[in-house]
C-alpha cells in the first residue's frame, strides 16, 4: 500500500492491541520531538475516544475528524494550533462515531487526504483493538509503530494485533490473485493440518504453489514493524523488548525492529492530568531522552543497542 504513492510527508502510525499501554503518550511525545526537525501534523484517529489534546495541554479542538465525515470539510482545514511550534493537530471524534462506523468510501477519501497533507511528518494516533479500519490505517503508514508494556496481557494483545495486521495485508494481496478462499480454508483446517502458529501457516501456504510462495515472500519482504517498549522499569524490562522482537521474527517471520524503549516515569501521568505537555516540562528527564532516542532510531531505521 505504501509503495504506490507519492507524497513528501513520512507517515507514522501507532497501534497495538491493548488500551493504556501509552500509545497516545508515545506518539504525542514523538510529535513534539519531531516538530523541532520539521512540520508535524498529528491526527487523533482514536475514533470514539479522542483525547490526544490532553497530551499536548490544549482544550479539545472545535473542529475535528467528525467535520470531515459529516460536513465534508477538507482535512487540511481541520488542522488547529497545538500551542507547540511546528505542530498542528487534527482532533478526533468524541463519543460520536467509532472506527467501526466508517464506511469504506469514507476511509479511502480520508486516506487520500492524509497522503496529500503538507507536512514533513504525519503522526496518527489510533485506538486500542484490532478493528480493520485501525489495521488499514497502520498499513498506510511508513512506520508502523506497535507499543507494548512489559506485561503478558499487552504482549498477547500485540501478537494478536500483528496477526491481524499481516493477514489483512496478505489477504489483500491474495484476494487480488484469487487465493483468498484458499488461505481461509487452510486456517479453518489448521488443527487437522498440524498448524499451530502463524509461521507454520505461512510455510504451509508457501508449499502449495510456487506462485503463492513468491507472492507471500513479496508481501513479507515489504512488511516491517517498529516495536516500542513503554514503561520499562529496568534492564530486565528493556530485554523483554528484545525477546518480543525475536519471537516476532522467528514465529511470525515478520521483520521487526526494536526501535526503542521508554523508561517508566510517574510524572507522565501527572503531566497528562495537569494538562501540561510532558516533553516540554520534563525535557531533561530520562524518559524524555528515551523518546528523543526513539525518534532518532525511527528516522534512521536503527534499533536499541543492548549492552
Amino acid at each position: 500500500m505504501e509503495s504506490d504513492r507519492e507524497h513528501s510527508g513520512r507517515i507514522l502510525a501507532v497501534g497495538g492491541g491493548k488500551g493504556g499501554v501509552g500509545k497516545s503518550f508515545i506518539i504525542s511525545s514523538l510529535g513534539m520531538s519531531l516538530a523541532r526537525k520539521g512540520r508535524v501534523v498529528m491526527i487523533d484517529g482514536d475514533l470514539g475516544g479522542a483525547n490526544l489534546h490532553n497530551f499536548l495541554g490544549v482544550s479539545p479542538p472545535k473542529t475535528a475528524l467528525a467535520d470531515f465525515f459529516e460536513r465534508k470539510t477538507p482535512l487540511a482545514e481541520l488542522i488547529v494550533a497545538s500551542g507547540i511550534e511546528n505542530l498542528g493537530l487534527i482532533g478526533g471524534m468524541i463519543g460520536t462515531t467509532g472506527a467501526e462506523n466508517i464506511k469504506h468510501a469514507q476511509k479511502k477519501k480520508l486516506f487520500n487526504h492524509i497522503l496529500r497533507l503538507e507536512a514533513d511528518y504525519i503522526l496518527i494516533d489510533l485506538g486500542a483493538g484490532a478493528h480493520f479500519n485501525t489495521i488499514d490505517t497502520v498499513l498506510l503508514a511508513d512506520d508502523k509503530i506497535i507499543v507494548v508494556t512489559p506485561e503478558i496481557n499487552s504482549i498477547e494483545n500485540m501478537y494478536n494485533f500483528l496477526r491481524n495486521l499481516f493477514f489483512r495485508r496478505l489477504g489483500g494481496a491474495l484476494g487480488v490473485h484469487g487465493y483468498r478462499e484458499l488461505a481461509i480454508s487452510v486456517w479453518k483446517e489448521r488443527q487437522e493440518l498440524g498448524i499451530r502458529n502463524f509461521k507454520q501457516l505461512i510455510d504451509h501456504l508457501k508449499d502449495i504453489s510456487p506462485e503463492l510462495h513468491r507472492l507471500i515472500d513479496r508481501e513479507l519482504a515489504g512488511f516491517k514493524i517498529n516495536l516500542v517498549l513503554n514503561q520499562a522499569k529496568g534492564h530486565r524490562d528493556i530485554m523483554i523488548g528484545n525477546s518480543v522482537k525475536s519471537v516476532c521474527r522467528k514465529f511470525f517471520g515478520i521483520d521487526t525492529l526494536y526501535s526503542g524503549y521508554v523508561e517508566y516515569d510517574e510524572s507522565v501521568s501527572h503531566s497528562i492530568n495537569r494538562g501540561v505537555p510532558y516533553m516540554n516540562t520534563f525535557a531533561a528527564s530520562r524518559c524524555a531522552r528515551c523518546i528523543e532516542k526513539l525518534a532518532d532510531n525511527l528516522m534512521a531505521g536503527r534499533q536499541v543497542r543492548i549492552s
Binding site: 503478558i152 504482549i155 499451530r196 523483554i240 528484545n242 525477546s243 525475536s246
Partner: protein, 175 residues
C-alpha cells in the same frame, strides 16, 4: 559456505551480514537466553509454541553460531597467514609500510577506526609519519598497538620499530 547458508545463519542470529564477530557473540548469548528460559515473550504465545519448536530454534541458533564462528576463525587464519608473509622481510615499520600492508589486507581505515576505537585522523597520521600531529608517546604507542593487532601483525615488533622513529623526531627538539 554458500551464500544462502551464510545469509540464513545471520538471519537466525537476527543480524545483518555486516555483523562483527563481537556482535555475533552478543546476539548468540542473548538469543540463547531468550529461548532457554521462561521469557515473557514466549509465555505470551505458549499455546502456539511447542517445546519441540523452542528446542528446534535453540538448535538452529547453536548451529548458526558454530558455523559463523568457524567461518570467522578460518578467515582470520587466512588473514594472519597473509599478514605474516607481507611482514616477513620488513625491518622497519614506518607509516608507508604499514599503509601498504593494510591495503594489501583490504582493510579500510573506517573499519579499523570503528573496531579499534582509534580516531581515523590518528590512523592517517600514523601512516603519514606525521609525528607532529600525533599525541605524546604513550598514546601513540597505544594506537599503534591496536593498529598492529588489528592487522594480525607482530605488535611488539611494529611498535618498537615505529616508536624508534617517533623518539628520534621528539629528540630532535620538536617536542
Amino acid at each position: 559456505m554458500n551464500r544462502e547458508d551464510y545469509r540464513a545463519h545471520f538471519e537466525t542470529l537476527e543480524l545483518t551480514s555486516e555483523a562483527t564477530p563481537a556482535e555475533i557473540n552478543k546476539a548468540y548469548l542473548l538469543l540463547k537466553d531468550i529461548y532457554s528460559t521462561d521469557s515473557l515473550a514466549i509465555t505470551a504465545m505458549a499455546e502456539e509454541i511447542s517445546a519441540e519448536q523452542t528446542a528446534d530454534i535453540l538448535e538452529r541458533i547453536e548451529d548458526s553460531y558454530r558455523a559463523l564462528t568457524e567461518m570467522f576463525s578460518a578467515e582470520r587464519h587466512a588473514v594472519t597467514e597473509l599478514a605474516d608473509r607481507l611482514a616477513a622481510d620488513i625491518d622497519e615499520f614506518n607509516g608507508a609500510v604499514l599503509k601498504k600492508i593494510r591495503q594489501r589486507l583490504k582493510v579500510s581505515l573506517d573499519d579499523m577506526a570503528l573496531e579499534t576505537r582509534v580516531r581515523r585522523e590518528h590512523l592517517v597520521n600514523i601512516e603519514a609519519d606525521n609525528f607532529a600531529e600525533l599525541p605524546v608517546a604513550v598514546y601513540t604507542r597505544g594506537f599503534l598497538l591496536n593498529y598492529a593487532k588489528f592487522l594480525s601483525l607482530d605488535a611488539e615488533k611494529v611498535v618498537e620499530s615505529y616508536m624508534a622513529n617517533f623518539r628520534l623526531y621528539c629528540q630532535d627538539g620538536a617536542r
